[in-house]
């Protein structure tokens, strides 16, 4: 039983080869508790963990599945970030990406989406590509703008919140399903090359095998920097249009967690979860003459400890 390749339903095997670019971001994942560094207004680095933005991981997975299905083409990763971002690139290469370009920038936290997308577009414009994938948004800042800016600066069509991808066997055209509100879906057609930003439900990223992890260690990462891209950017330059000035953690609210009774059979547990844990309130119709009803009501109030 291999991992199911339910995504990317190709009507016919084709000799299409696609070069896919996936832009990823390494994000800081904070769990429940953190402190704010008063000087920078950012999160205190102690206790931070770094992960590949989960949406981006889905984009990488999708690119690899397309490549595996077509039996050809290349998946190239691009990231912008400090030296630790290399970890994210290696992890995605372990998933199966072929190449990576690292736009090295220690102070990347201060970049706004516009500068980021300029840098990415610069790098991309020197590459051959049929498809550019992004995660729908980064879970740390949740802006979700970079994909659109990149499409804009490369004059490409963009489809956001992609939940399903189909390729026409004949030429470079796709049918894309995307998410609307409340689970609605819409299907659109789009010529390639294009930019897609992907939704979580598109696929489930693989857990890399050991040989793949090993192979990823020896793959080449090409390094560049904002400077060498001709974006002579330093802190405070007008390139950055928005700047972080404040940050406040959410108020802690008591969490209501649904826990199905573990003794229930599986299907009932599933029903419970699917229904959002709604339990029938169960009402009772009191019958009898007014006197009887009145006494029953009193009983009930006593029983429920209301009076």
């Amino acid at each position: 039983m291999k991992r199911n390749a339910a995504v990317g339903l190709f009507t016919k095997p084709s000799n299409l080869k696609m070069n896919i670019i996936v832009c990823i971001k390494q994000v800081t994942h904070i769990y429940v508790q953190w402190g704010i560094d008063p000087e920078t207004n950012t999160i205190d680095p102690e206790g931070l963990v770094y992960i590949v933005n989960p949406y981006d991981e889905i984009a990488v997975e999708e690119a690899i599945r397309i490549k595996e299905k077509l039996n050809g083409g290349e998946v190239t990763l691009i990231t912008l970030g400090p030296s630790r971002a290399e970890m994210a690139l290696r992890l995605c290469m372990a998933m199966g990406a072929d190449k990576a370009i690292h736009i090295f920038e220690e102070a990347f936290e201060d970049l706004d989406p516009w500068v980021t997308s300029l840098a990415l577009s610069k790098v991309i414009s020197d590459l051959e590509y049929d498809l550019i994938l992004f995660g729908k948004q980064a879970i740390d800042d949740g802006m979700g703008q970079v994909g659109a800016y990149v499409a804009e600066s490369l004059s490409l069509p963009i489809v956001s919140a992609v939940t399903k991808l189909d390729f026409s066997p004949a030429g470079k055209k796709t049918t894309v399903q995307r998410a609307l509100e409340k689970g609605d879906r819409e299907v659109v057609k789009c010529p390639l090359p294009a930019v897609f930003t992907v939704e979580r439900s598109l696929n489930k990223p693989r857990y890399p095998t050991f040989p793949a992890r090993k192979a990823a260690l020896t793959k080449v990462i090409q390094r560049t920097s904002l400077k060498s891209l001709g974006l002579s950017w330093d802190k405070g330059l007008e390139g950055t249009m928005i700047k972080l000035i404040g940050f406040s953690p959410p108020k802690l609210r008591p969490k209501k967690i649904l826990v199905p009774d573990s003794n229930l059979p599986v299907h009932e547990r599933l029903d419970f979860i699917m229904s959002g844990g709604i339990v029938d309130k169960g009402s009772e119709l009191l019958e009898g003459d007014p006197k009887e009803i009145a006494s029953k009501v009193v009983d009930l109030l006593v029983q429920q400890k209301i009076v």
């Binding site: 039983m1 769990y31 429940v32 508790q33 102690e46 206790g47 693989r206 095998t209 050991f210 260690l217």
Partner: protein, 678 residues
Amino acid sequence: MHHKVQPALEHYLGIPGSFITLFILIVGLALFFYIIYKRYLLLKSANPDPRFDSLWRRFYDLIIYGIFQKRQPRYLWIGILHIMIFWGFVVLILRSIALYGLGLKAEFILPFMGGSPGEFYHLFKDILEIIVLFACIAAILRRAISRPARYEFKHGKAHKFHAYLVLGLISFLMVTDIAMDGSGTLLGEKSDYWLPAANSVSYLFNGLGPDTLKTIYLWNYWLHILTLMVFLNYLPLGKHFHIITGIFNVFLSKLKKGSIKPPRWGVENIEELDSLGVDKVEDFTWKHILDFYTCTECGRCTDNCPANIVGRPLSPMEVTLKIRDYAYESNPIFNLKGKADSPDQNLHLIGNVITPDEIWSCTTCGACEEECPVFIEYIDKMVEMRRHLVLMESRFPPEIEKIFRNMEVYDDPWGMGRALRTDWAGDLKIKTITEDSDIDLLYWVGCAGAFDDRCKEVAASLVRVLQESGVTFGILGKEERCCGDFARRTGNEYLFQVLVRKNIEILKKCKVKKILTSCPHCYNTFKNEYPQFGGEFEVIHHSEYIAELIKEGNLKLSKELDKTISYHDPCYLGRHNGLYEAPREILKLITGIKTIELERSRDRSFCCGAGGGRYWMEEYGKRINETRIDEVIEVKPDIITTACPYCLIMLEEGIKAKEEVSGELKALDIIEIVEGTI
């Protein structure tokens, strides 16, 4: 003794008897060694396994468990029968050699077997023959009439026939030898002693003429030595190979329980390996293949396997038998069917012979290994197959992917992160060990103690007891990471090694010498597995440590506790590390406590169901922990105590699921009982 009839001097169709004996001997032995050679080839193709260390210990085990068969009477009656047959066999080997000698050369006598030693041996073997015959018949009847369920082989060809055949062959050997001696007696082979078997049989032959007696003698002689040769050649073909391999298997048994074998012996860095884990027969080590050869099909492992008992699709015996059957079929001794028909030698075991469900059902509790009379190993094999699934194919129960990722990113299976690791300590004012603190004792909290709400209480309780006793100790705080037990036992060796390296680095940096753990899994991993990576520390479990404190008078227990308490042995404390006494001692040292042992306790303890990563996996159908609680209910204690956070959680959940005891029966860690009586 003087032999009147000399098989060596007889002639059959003009061929002298000595020739016939020689022929049987040469053909028989050639065939036998050829079969052994074939079996050896498969063994040789397998992976390395160093098993020739600690020779004294091995000889000791050989004598205790091999020669004296110490594990046999764990199943009392059949164990005694087996010992009878085994010892009879050992003694009768001499007789067999002597009989072959007699067939080659008239008047043959083994060295030192002339005169009275020979006479005495004759008496001894005569008595043993009766005993063996009796034991074989008893064993046959037992199999035929009471049919113990543990012999069932559900998912493969029945092997029962082999058991009957071998018992029959042994009985036949006894009968022919006794008949020979019986007729010999009448022919004038007088012994100094009254031989119970031979003399009794001779009454049956009374009145027969010398020619008839001679014929009886010779027929039984030839049948005997021929059967012996058939028997010898038959051994390596089925479960009775253990008669030959059993002794070796005991001698070569795994000495370091509790530790999982490295992916490849002799390879330190797994990055040098292209493939990890087991999916083909030759991926196992040669010792594991010897295990397959050796299994006696006694079913004792399965009979004690918690996964099997609750109806999970795992029977350790069947795992062995299925792999053995496949190994024998794909490596035939004579390739009669021709290449095309013989089964694929490169078949993937997982999926074709063994199902992933079987592999994932194992809790690595070690009950099977503890029970096996010939020391067959299971945990390493299960973990090796998991390694293949996880590391090579990325196939595992979906629930544990999250756990793997949690450990990778947050360094703990709960996925809480190091920032939250010390929250449990609250305002207990525990010192943190750093590079330049000189605290000798490190309390390793473990992920359960740090993150699980119930186990946090246990950790806090231990800290209060330590503080009460004036012990200086510290914790690593946010620098502690998962010890890796779960990662290793679910086959994620890569993740395990990443965690181990990080932990060893910080422990060395802080110059930690002595580690106190409250979790038997951390305990076991530090004690038995970290040394594989250069992490040598003195490790002590809190039950041991607290027992010491009480005995030395550093901890005074002043209150009484008027309760009946049962102790549940955690697998990783008991079976894997032999630590059975300390918790029981603590209970004895508290006044008022009445202890009552569970039916399955100590080395036969029943797993709580959480080991081997099972804690994180879905359980379908009947639950192991609830089955355990049923056993607890049977002895009716007020408190069930244990010394492992996972056992505690599992027992507690088991109690909650049982309405009849929920609220009455309490599950506590041993340290909570101690704290309550200070």
